[in-house]
Symmetry: C2
Subunit: 607 residues, 2 copies
Amino acid sequence: MENKVIRDRLSALREKMAAYGIDYYLMPTSDYHNSEYAADFFKAREYFCGFTGSNGTLVVSKDWAGMWTDGRYFIQAEREMEGTGVTLYRMGEEGIPTISEYLTDNMNSGEVLGFDGKVVPAKEGLSYENKLKKKQVKIKFDRDLAGEVWSERPELPCNQIYVLSDELCGKSFSEKLADVRKEMEENNAKAYLLCKLDDICWLTNLRGNDVECNPVILSYLFITTKNVYMFVQFDELNDEVRTYCENNGIELVAYNRIISWLDEYEYEGVTLYDERNVSYSVYRTIKDNSENRGAVVKNILDPTELMKACKNETELKNIREVYIRDSAVLTKFIYWVKKEAPKGELNEYTAAMHLDAMRAELPGFIELSFPTISAYKDNAAMMHYEATEESNAKIEPESFLLVDSGGTYMGGTTDVTRTIVMGPVSDEEKKHYTLTAVGMLQLANARFLEGCSGKNLDILARIPLWNIGVDYKCGTGHGIGYMLNVHEGPHSIRWKSRSVEDEAPLKAGMIVSDEPGVYLEGKYGIRIENIIEVVSDVKNSDGQFLSFDHLTYVPLDLDAIDTNYLQPKDIDAINEYHKMVFNKISPLIEEEEIKNWLKDATRPIEK
Amino acid sequence: MENKVIRDRLSALREKMAAYGIDYYLMPTSDYHNSEYAADFFKAREYFCGFTGSNGTLVVSKDWAGMWTDGRYFIQAEREMEGTGVTLYRMGEEGIPTISEYLTDNMNSGEVLGFDGKVVPAKEGLSYENKLKKKQVKIKFDRDLAGEVWSERPELPCNQIYVLSDELCGKSFSEKLADVRKEMEENNAKAYLLCKLDDICWLTNLRGNDVECNPVILSYLFITTKNVYMFVQFDELNDEVRTYCENNGIELVAYNRIISWLDEYEYEGVTLYDERNVSYSVYRTIKDNSENRGAVVKNILDPTELMKACKNETELKNIREVYIRDSAVLTKFIYWVKKEAPKGELNEYTAAMHLDAMRAELPGFIELSFPTISAYKDNAAMMHYEATEESNAKIEPESFLLVDSGGTYMGGTTDVTRTIVMGPVSDEEKKHYTLTAVGMLQLANARFLEGCSGKNLDILARIPLWNIGVDYKCGTGHGIGYMLNVHEGPHSIRWKSRSVEDEAPLKAGMIVSDEPGVYLEGKYGIRIENIIEVVSDVKNSDGQFLSFDHLTYVPLDLDAIDTNYLQPKDIDAINEYHKMVFNKISPLIEEEEIKNWLKDATRPIEK
């Protein structure tokens, strides 16, 4: 059946394309800052083809349209795009061209490729530019054609900005700015353009609410040796924020003026940027203007990324407290769900709603740090599963419920996963649960020399599973923000690195997740995730050793522990962890019944 | 006191320098192929300054001479160069310029830097070239000035070449050549210059005896799409070798014609080379001549390196047998030294001589694979210690004797280290020995996914020691040749990589050492080294797993095992290993007394 709505939208787009002399128009999935979540305002690709997945790029010509997405979404995209006339390109499958290859093969010399350069990451735009150069294809990136057609487009997110006190941040904006300017000086730079939203918020000690689950502000920051310009939507400002900016020498410029402002700026010497985080429009604007004036741009890794990753003492103190409160809530939820489930009235969605409501009552709660994953039994084998009110599984009194959740509070952002026994579990389920727990604790209990990256350590979490021929197809850990994004770099824990940042050495003050798991399609999924803090350990003639402290204190589920798979040191590790859990969490639990349950849930085990 | 001998030599060198218009003359420590050991012929640096260490570069001007070496040799160099007038430059110390920095600061525009470009690695030569370009310094690299002065210079090594049968190699030269030409084709190359001696020997199935402990031939190999030219000293050839070369289409060219031949060659298209392995002279010759003809040179990692590292089935079969025989000899030596030492008449050197003699009696013995390290007590804390007839320690009935040794046989090259209890050992010695053994076996018993490099695995050997705050300042493992060098790449096991090759993924058929240790200055040194073979393990939907098989079967010393530091799985690992040792080795031991001792030395232990 024809999808007339989409076909009409594509026709309207094609009219605009003809009017502007554009032969191919491309729409990716990204906001202006390559954020993890894109607001509805940015969902042009969805508007013009119907596909709602989190990754996809639509390309339209006058008589053809193609949509590229990855293996997670082939079935969904096929279904959602039925009748639209848009062809699905299954990325990674044999014989399927990449977008660049398709365009190189199909565009004629002198034709024009159009896209809104503000939503195309610089690297991607440059790759099109380089590959199409040979064919004399021109690129037109200064028009948001989709926006011109899209009649009832949602508003750009525009929410109140707020100021965090220096007491809460541990370091004032001016101190952080001095550190950044020192990096600029070391790079002989006159200016530095910062586009990554969590880095801007970290640096300015400001927060907002413009990206789902990320308390960030749609903004840019341009720092010179003397001035700081912050590009924001003025409707997001109140008097307090204006005063704060004035007192801190932050000059406010309208968010939508970024390109024209950068176009007019008189560049001199070196301007720094991070190619991972700038859009193609921003890149071309600073690059072309710099060169016209005999100045240069220099690609660096945003220095703020490492500064932000190494939490200061104030942040760490607050984070530790927030994690204990958050752990207590999840512990209470586990008690509740184990009691409620046998009644047969819970489903994944209602369980998640209950947990979300419990978290929302905690002091200083701001928002969830990501949509709660509540996945029962085989649903938990899908890493990107999300239950909804309409589509969810009933929780039966058997197997596992996997709950991955977290909140952002005044004082920290949390992330934690527990896999909860809902009733009888098989020997295989117990084996996998036990070895996942062993791996999680083995990594958390490691001592290692400064200079190690997650690439060196990953195997400690993974080897109990590798030894039985099982792997989890993802990294073991990611960094986490302070009242910021739940995923942040530069460090991570993964055995295969994707890029140079993945090999960033771990440093004291970094926090990182430790989340091995087992995912058996059609059967069940297990993930146990603690957040751990890198701390200084002994220093001797062999060097400075580091180790981890737990931030998460939530019981493991002893109902799924099979001591046959445990060495004495593993039993000690579980018992020591559970002793800490009880000591840290029990003071926050008033209900005698839950406290007694917790006492039992954290009881010492032996072989 | 003045060292007149050296001063006279330097004067003679300066006269030559003046005659050829050379202002500074540089002599590194390398042969024409950057081999691990340089023959006496190449010891010009030693001849002109007296310093005998394995790493050092001498630079001489008309009124100054400086010698750069690293921290291992500061004291020795100071002593050996006394009275020579040569200044010691302590590399790595604060304020000490590098050679490039020194030359940049001190050479005047238009002056000439001279060296024999055949003994300077291309990378090093290029670095001088680039840094001195700004000062208009000219480089003259076509004269071996030292050789012109050095009157009684030792001969260039020149030993008989011999042919290995295809049965022994498992793959004929022509098959290997086809693989190499395939790589050339993939690189669109018309020619490929191979300078690394063990790679040339591996490819041609020829062996020689031109580098100490390495059964290699001083040679170059130039491969085109149609021809193969091998540059060797004709005195090394006999009829068998000549016939073999003729039958295999290998055209023989005199070794010393390499530069003039490369100078005359009519380059076309792409010529491949590996910048790690070519000398500056060779590089300049192929590069400049290629460019003059509109052809190009392309730097690659020698493809032979990976081919050579992945042993074929024949090689593996032979290697396994050779390691069992070699293990039996070392086991007998351990029995002997434990029995002899209490008599108080052994020293490190006599013990080593005894072991070397035992090995020499094995069938197919060719030579030691490196000079035997026999280090008693605190001497073993020095990783580069070598006992000599003149300088050695007496072996007392206490503490440890560390013996690191190996041989090259028809059928394989071995390397093994055992640390042997000579009498009472302290609790600390036992703890360190036990945890070293745990690390060695933990790595050897790992199962891991294809794609892992040594960087992912290193921590398995190291973490038992890291957990008690102890580190060893070297990698955990290196590759080993087949009747070739005891150190070969591309793979290794180390947590800090020095270069991209260090991250070469492990592949089935590779062999690698597994040698954690503890080195306490002034106290003792422990190293336990097994050689292990990478083997295919289960393959399932999670991927292809790999694991290791032992090649080395020599008992660990139970006298130094303290079960307090062992988990049940570690005890199992020791007992399983010892069971294999007894089963593999005892059939090769005829003496009833030794067999009984071995039975006891490999007895099962329990907590």
